[in-house]
Symmetry: D2
Subunit: 299 residues, 4 copies
């Protein structure tokens, strides 16, 4: 990547060298917050932000996200996790620590329409999207110039439904080579195989160009036009093996009227797609999202 972008990322890593997040879900019971906050206090961590949610106040699942500062975090991270395991066992917790200085490595998949990709690149190079955009993979060549001009490798892998597995083999090699943490489908119009999806559970983020569950599948703007809707929308969600049925992260809409034909709706919609995908990715990068079956909790 370009030097000025790398410098922004390096500054961010340095500023956050002592910053981490702890995400937990477990069956609700008294004493969780008391125990976890005492643990952090005993480890000299200062809570900066904390959000919690209980799915059902009468004995449901408990979720919490805590962001904290801890001196000498890099040296202490291992011990922190080891010590926390005891608490986790007592409360039957799913949990993870994430470290803000470990900036996530991102792969962006795109097909012919580059608007979502370009929004991400623009936010990225201006320092508003804190990720390491490691590579872009596309079944078209349209976005090559823009991507390479920012110093990001661009891989052209032609794709169609008959060569799906072969294409994914190449993609998987690249994802492995770049050690990718999150995959963004920025209007990538190929369907992924169940095997591919299963290997990246809850870190493939897609943008669908409709207000789901309306207009699942192909050509949503044409179908919205034909139905005569007065609002169109876009939805960002994690990819699962049920088409457009994965956990929804974010949605938004824009008003249209009878004067807007399908092409107008597409243009209006692209603007929504850009902002919805961008918000969803930022929340993912900030570890704000916990997936609870087919839903997301966004802290």
């Amino acid at each position: 990547m370009k030097a000025y972008i790398k410098e922004k990322i390096d500054n961010y890593k340095h500023q956050n060298k002592n910053r981490a997040r702890l995400l937990i879900n477990c069956p609700d019971q008294p004493g969780i917050v008391a125990t976890v906050s005492k643990f952090l206090y005993d480890h000299e961590a200062n809570i900066i932000e904390s959000s919690q949610y209980t799915a059902d106040p009468e004995g449901g699942e408990f979720f919490i996200r805590i962001e904290f500062e801890c001196p000498n975090l890099k040296e202490k991270a291992n011990q922190l996790e080891t010590d926390f395991q005891l608490i986790a066992n007592n409360f039957d917790m799913d949990w993870k620590f994430t470290y803000v200085f470990e900036v996530k490595k991102m792969a962006v998949f795109v097909s012919k329409e580059p608007h979502c990709l370009l929004e991400l690149l623009w936010e990225w190079q201006s320092g508003d999207l804190m990720a390491d955009i490691s590579l872009v993979i596309s079944n078209h060549e349209v976005a090559r110039d823009m991507v390479e001009s920012l110093g990001v490798p661009y891989y052209y892998i032609p794709a169609n439904k008959d060569i799906r597995e072969e294409v994914e083999q190449k993609q998987l090699q690249l994802l492995k080579k770049y050690d990718v943490d999150v995959i963004v489908l920025a209007r990538y119009m190929q369907i992924l195989t169940p095997k591919f999806v299963a290997q990246h559970e809850n870190y493939i983020i897609n943008i669908h160009h409709s207000f789901l569950p309306a207009f699942i599948g192909a050509n949503p703007y044409e179908r919205a036009y034909n139905r005569g809707v007065k609002l169109i929308g876009a939805t960002s969600h994690y990819v699962t093996n049920d088409l457009d049925e994965g956990p929804i992260i974010e949605q938004d809409i824009s008003r249209v009227d009878h004067k807007d034909n399908a092409a107008d709706m597409k243009k209006i919609g692209q603007s929504i797609e850009r902002s919805v995908l961008s918000r969803a990715i930022k929340w993912h990068l900030e570890d704000r999202i916990i997936v609870d079956r087919n839903k997301t909790i966004v802290f």
Copy 2:
């Protein structure tokens, strides 16, 4: 109705004694606007507001709504319509004149949840919804007090799917007795028979408590909750014999998050339903809507 409401309506009629609207649709061709505006000018009508739309600039359907003032309109209305027939024939027009001083007579149907009805009553008594609310028909008694306190007759007609035709017989008699121009289903939870719908084409207005075409049918808030959507909505549409498939007049949405359960969504949604239905009805009362197959043009 109460005297202070009647007075508001009478004032409105008087203020608009020379005000009318002309709605036209016809195949597009050159000269329509020139001909119609010359016609109005020759009849001493002054155009106050005019909106037009061509479905497809290359030979599609043309739609126009003109609001105008014309001195001594009541005396001249018949002649105006007779004279206009010649133009209409030349251009193969569907057309109608409506007279603003002819305030529309409205029947409101409601079941157990009175929030939409009450919004209408409140706007009505404050002079913001210019209709003659002639009667309310309900298969429950919950709203009787509120309706009668404004001097509006309330008819309780128990209903269920086994006695549908018998129920509709009673309703039709009432609609005839009160000479009703528009029927509002303000959360009326009974399905109407095809026969009933056919007799009132494009003047039964329904509010559906979802963002159509998402969550067609029953229990949309529960289904929205189960799907984990981040926005919920409401849709007002004309009733046809395809359930929740009629021409959409207006839609709106509100943001929800993981903390909102189905009951919260219902509450949030009621607020959207109220405003969406109210806007749709006002546009209908102002003759702003032309139905074009399964869509609406809202001028």
Copy 3:
């Protein structure tokens, strides 16, 4: 009040007989959350919802709102507060416990325009606004019927700027008689004296019919129209002695265009005023708001 409303309130009190909220602000330092959550755990309280905020991560003010369930709360409340005083002293806390079963007693002040009052009454009687609306005070008679029809006492106290203190004497007597917890100015168009305001710090809630700080003072819709704005708004805030300068609780806007004159803007604006004031009051009733100098933190 009417029996069916009283029944709703009584049910709510019963359901929440063990529910309380703890609001704290204090200088930030490590260990606050650990200490407070241990305190609650030791007193058998289960945290249902918790939100916190640190004004400046480097040594600023810390704010937290915790909602919890505690068995036999009514018996234990005194002991809870006594025990908490020790912690509060250690951390130099401003704090209060509020008890959900102690439904707040509300006085509504209104002048000529009843739209905000009516929204509150409607939400209240439908169970969506959980307060004890103890009385309505007005310098006009317009809203008497609606208020009394719900069984709420209505006090007509003519007012003008020359008799301000005398008027407020009468109002203060009523507020004392009804032991009022919160005062809502639902479009009450008289200015309150500094003395009156000082006696009710942070519990007089006003609705101003503009998007503050634009159009402070009188006739905001006319001034908005004259300025040619494309959006109009409303603002709900706590009343201080600087006109329209108190801490903002909530704001919202609606789109207008060149066709809307000042009267249209007023109508559109009334709808915003209704929803903005209603949201602000609900947050206040749920003890979600902490005032920090001239700002609010809304949890």
Copy 4:
């Protein structure tokens, strides 16, 4: 400019070789629409879109925008305008024909923050903003690479308030050289002299980073933060010699809360600025805006 952009513009010109717009304002009187539409019909023009507005139905100003198709328009344009002068005289009209194939030449002024410029460039190169971006003028060098990579000349003219006239001399020469039709201040932070503004009445478009008339002048985000507002906004307006007081074209807002500091508000606001400025410019390019004293009519 780059070849692929030029190709898009050339296609657009060709597709619109017979498309024009007629904008009129004049004192309201009967017969305007009839006369104008007859004129167009007699000249073989087919009306595609027409919007009108009367400032005050009782004898106010009348405004109309008509978009039409006319065969062999380029040959007939002169005659059209000559013939129309007779009508214009009769009705005391301000009027102009604009030709869609005459794509407007635009200069963009920018200072240090490139987000608005980049939004315009992105929409432009993707064909969504139909203008000829002839040059960019800046008092900083930050945006040079991006601008030049699209083949647009970039002029660096250092500026400060002490050398204002000298700077404007250079700018005026460039504007003349490129024969510019519209000037966009895409976050250009220098104040223009009254002389400069007077020479470009109603075609300098600015973006102000607040919801005007709130926070006129410098540092609006900081002042918004200090006031504790719950919504921030942006305003696009024509530049006049009253700072931030020119006719407003478009405004929009976004929600903020107590967690957002001034820097967060700035980031959130940049996204609003981008879309508001972009919409305002498009309406200007499509000749949808008529300035009526200190207001705009946007058709």
